[in-house]
């Protein structure tokens, strides 16, 4: 059941695609929300009975996306919120992380090593980033669910990810 989040780009996704949201949660964009969001999603992933490999990848991707909203979205203004939406869409698990901050902007002065976006793209089967200056960023990660024709070996390949 969809829990409405007003003025959210979530609405578009869920309405257009006519899906049941597993979870919509809103957190303040503060560091403590990073582990909270991860623990919260872990509960939902366990309910879904997903395999460990996938759970690890979703937890990492979600953590990176929420941490980015906390670290980068509200640099120049008042801190706002970060919202997380998780749902199963026919053959995929979709995780959306959204903020209403600056929109994606490079921060070459940052202390990060810039591993967050590549990691989100490594762990997921598809990474989408939409944003608008001063209207926030929406990160959408899609994970193929195993046991579906053709998608099976994508996950297999990823599990066997090389050591260099």
């Amino acid at each position: 059941m969809y829990i409405g989040v007003s003025e959210s780009r979530f609405r578009t996704y869920t309405e257009e695609e006519n899906i049941d949201a597993k979870a919509v949660i809103r957190f303040p964009a503060i560091p403590e929300s990073v582990p909270k969001a991860r623990r919260n999603i872990t509960g939902h992933l366990e309910e879904l009975g997903l395999e460990n490999d996938l759970v690890d990848r979703v937890r990492l991707g979600l953590t990176e996306a929420v941490a980015n909203a906390v670290a980068h979205a509200y640099r120049d203004g008042e801190a706002g919120d970060v919202e997380v939406l998780v749902f199963v869409h026919p053959e995929t698990l979709v995780v959306i992380v959204e903020d209403t901050g600056s929109g994606p902007l490079p921060h070459p002065d940052g202390t990060g090593l810039g591993m967050g976006l590549p990691l989100m793209s490594v762990v997921s089967d598809k990474l989408e980033i939409e944003g608008e200056r001063d209207r926030g960023t929406t990160v959408r990660m899609t994970f193929d669910l195993p046991g579906l024709p053709g998608d099976n070996d994508t996950c297999g390949d990823r599990e066997g990810l090389g050591t260099r």
């Binding site: 990073v34 460990n52 990848r57 090593l113 591993m115 490594v122 990810l161 090389g162 050591t163």
Partner: protein, 116 residues
Amino acid sequence: MAPAHEPSNGTATVVRLEGEHDYDNSPEFRARIEAALDGSQGVIVDLTEATFVDSSVLGILVRAMREADRRGLSYAIAVNPEPADPVRHILELSGLLGVLPLAGNGSGTNDSAAPD
């Protein structure tokens, strides 16, 4: 939470991470590893009891490696050898298993960044 004095193993200080570490609590880890680099001839980061690390932790591990290298200190990471270990999995996904110097399982003083 961090012990005032990290246990030291031979000449290397062991920095042990337990549980989940991410953007929220990684500044603590950064402080511990920096203190260890300042106060000893080498650092072993023991991740065998850690259950989650994110890119902020990975960044600290990579920076500490570079710093140890620069100062001629030994540096090694101990990771649970189980393929299903979530932290090992994260290091694999991030490509760091081939970059970070791994210590012998959970104990060794493998000096992958030995002083010259």
